[in-house]
Subunit: 526 residues, 2 copies
Amino acid sequence: MVTWNNLDTLDAFQNLTKADRVDLAEVMSGENGAERVKNYSIPMAAGLTYNYAAKQVDEKVLAALAKLAEEAQLTEKFQALYNGEVINTGEKRLVLHHMTRGQLGDAVCADGVDKRTFYVEQQTKIAEFANKVHAGEITNAAGEKFTTVVQIGIGGSDLGPRAMYLALENWAKKNNVFRMEARFISNVDPDDAAAVLNSIDVAHSIFVLVSKSGTTLETLTNESFVKDALKNAGLDPSRHMIAVTSETSPLAKSDDYLAAFFMDDYIGGRFSSTSAVGGAVLSLAFGPEVFAQFLEGAAKEDQLSKEEDVLKNPEMLDALIGVYERNVLGYPATTVLPYSQALSRFPAHLQQLDMESNGKSVNRFGDPVDYPTGPVIFGEPGTNGQHSFYQLLHQGTDIVPLQFVGFKNSQIGTDVVIQDSTSQQKLCANVVAQIVAFACGKTDENLNKNFEGGRPSSIIIGDQLTPQALGALLAHFENKIMFQGFVWNINSFDQEGVQLGKVLAKRVLAHDTDGALKAYSDLMNI
Amino acid sequence: MVTWNNLDTLDAFQNLTKADRVDLAEVMSGENGAERVKNYSIPMAAGLTYNYAAKQVDEKVLAALAKLAEEAQLTEKFQALYNGEVINTGEKRLVLHHMTRGQLGDAVCADGVDKRTFYVEQQTKIAEFANKVHAGEITNAAGEKFTTVVQIGIGGSDLGPRAMYLALENWAKKNNVFRMEARFISNVDPDDAAAVLNSIDVAHSIFVLVSKSGTTLETLTNESFVKDALKNAGLDPSRHMIAVTSETSPLAKSDDYLAAFFMDDYIGGRFSSTSAVGGAVLSLAFGPEVFAQFLEGAAKEDQLSKEEDVLKNPEMLDALIGVYERNVLGYPATTVLPYSQALSRFPAHLQQLDMESNGKSVNRFGDPVDYPTGPVIFGEPGTNGQHSFYQLLHQGTDIVPLQFVGFKNSQIGTDVVIQDSTSQQKLCANVVAQIVAFACGKTDENLNKNFEGGRPSSIIIGDQLTPQALGALLAHFENKIMFQGFVWNINSFDQEGVQLGKVLAKRVLAHDTDGALKAYSDLMNI
């Protein structure tokens, strides 16, 4: 029987707060540090490894975290989720994004169908469609092949698919599976759509309109923008557009689209990269096989998340350490630092995934919680960040836990030797150096050059950023965030915090304003 | 006489901590809110306005902030800076980036020359060079015009110029002053350089190598990468490269470059967008006149920063309110939210500018400070962020102060009417709605749908994002950060926190490692 309790009511949490603090600089020095690096490591899917040697934990803290996992019933709650319980209590919905990539437990029937079958069907339909586009069987009205795919979506329909596309673009080119360039239109700022449209060949572009509800104002506005451009070019918009939506949305059966592919209410936008939302654009850009490999990596990582032993479950342990850092050590932010230019927008996607899921002040029953929940998440690729905001991370007055990601090999493989090392070796050397610099610091009599150390980090290491590795990486963070939501006893799957702004924006546009709202509207000439 | 004291030793700060807290939701409601919006506003340069109505301040707090400005001698310290005192005490250097765009006070002589004359000379040389490139007088070896400019740099030599380029790219195209596409290579990840090189026509590209010291390892490595590509294409690298560096660097007199333009040690990398570092790439991309307009906007804003009355000085007031939020109200992060897709990388540049400048734990004399200094800075463009991390900003357990930027008009001007409003109107309506939603909230019996409000924000409003407006916007944040450094009594102009990582990375590459450093190196196969 699963019971849902606030974190501060759990004995295991009280116990955790009493565990002696680990002096990270001390435990990471000398041979003890080397031992930690060897031992504090968990294999992940697709050849990845989660290493937490430089986190502020030791055997006692880890034991306390394991007890917390047990008392908070993390495994049981994940089981409940993938077996089809209503985990999204706010919206009274199942949470089934894992099922887009595999079957973790019981068959789940909803809306009168087996949901795994439904998601596989959508993936298959997308694959068939993409193959026909690539084969020139589906073309523009002039019978010419499409060369560019443009996703129109915002939030979950934009950031995830965009980050995944950028992550695999160079890999696909190198491995000769690159099919079409992808572009993205998201912002309601008219300059976003205009700039993308000015830079592409619309006659050879296929547009993917993505909106679960079919009512997202930014997305419908940008669709109209695109349709105008197509018409102005003498083209028939319905020959250039497909839709990804829910079966109940107004877009589902419209003649305005070449085809429609479906997701449903059980997949939150930010968790939709492995559904048709990511599937259409990624299958068109790289071919359905690459998208299938991406799902395979995610599915394998999901399997690891089922593991009850926290020391064998990278997602659960990462989640618990994050809770320890947030609720016991009191650190207010976390930074994500991929040493991979291909992951340039991955931190922005994680920022959405994490902050939209766990930035909540009430528990799943709607009662206020008395402890901090989701932290601020931010990040940029290394080594770039080293020449930028790392100054604060090393010597600022607040401690910001770090999440590194690094790969032994580049994607393209072109490299150059300068001062006896390749660029890739320099990249790897830098991430290693940073972990140790943050953890151990370095004493200097000139305090301006002194590094206190004690700044905790973990790293996920892979051989290369492949579709499988990317899937595993994404699933890692999705599941970590899910487990943290369980620990905090919040509903990670709704987003009521986005509603008030929408309501007020409508009032401004309807000139139904007074007070400050009217005064600001006047300032902006609306 | 300027005296440098820690914040917590100032009577005005102790006084500030005692000021009654402002109930933002209350003061922003009704007609009082409208009055605040009208009154709490300061004109900026280039038609911009800084509005702080939705900040947690009232007449008493503002009076206390004014006293703090006085006791901390903010105006006098800025005067000392632009009149040429050694403000960067750590590196014993003058701080002269303002002088790249104007003369704020006394003539400053250093290295045997008048520095304003020196910076103007560099700007003039760049303008002449750019004009010759555009006129086809400087060409590739085949006598063909260059069509693309590629900046090779990292940190301050990358983020600022890149953000400024993206900010003006569409404006320049619309106003027929777009001269060349610009691209940027920064990361030592070999896939960064390889991907850029694979996507451009190297035979018609001119590369700008930017390194003040001429020794930045990432940048020299990427230079070598580029030279290989040029040679492989049968081209002479010295016909395709210019350098931006200091006169004393190894690059300054090298035959490897078509030309060299100079900055100096008095301009920190993150403050170098208005120097030759931004000047070369922006003048080549948009023409020297556009770069001059950008400098003009910055110069005008600098003049406003000289104003002693904090209520007429947008930079000083923004800085003081930030200190109040950080050191009295205890907020650990700040988010920057431009409602302009053109400013997509502006938050990343501000993240560098702020966190690298003020992420310090010791004062300017090298003694530890007992109060928080620079906060974590992050942000993404609106409306995109609304569908992402705004959930936490509205309903999370921490309060994150917000800095909005918005423009009444788009850059390109193409637009579409949907549901009776243009995209630009929707964009403006959204930023207005968000300010009020954050400040006032909305009570709901279902606490999951409740918005507490009380989340402070300011907004900078402009007519359009022009070169002048961009210059003013940049100078606003540069000077805000400078004033905050003065208040915190830290040196905002060095970055010793980046050194340890460099030293350890060299050790890793030399295989001079033990303990954790060796163990991690083994994991990464170095």
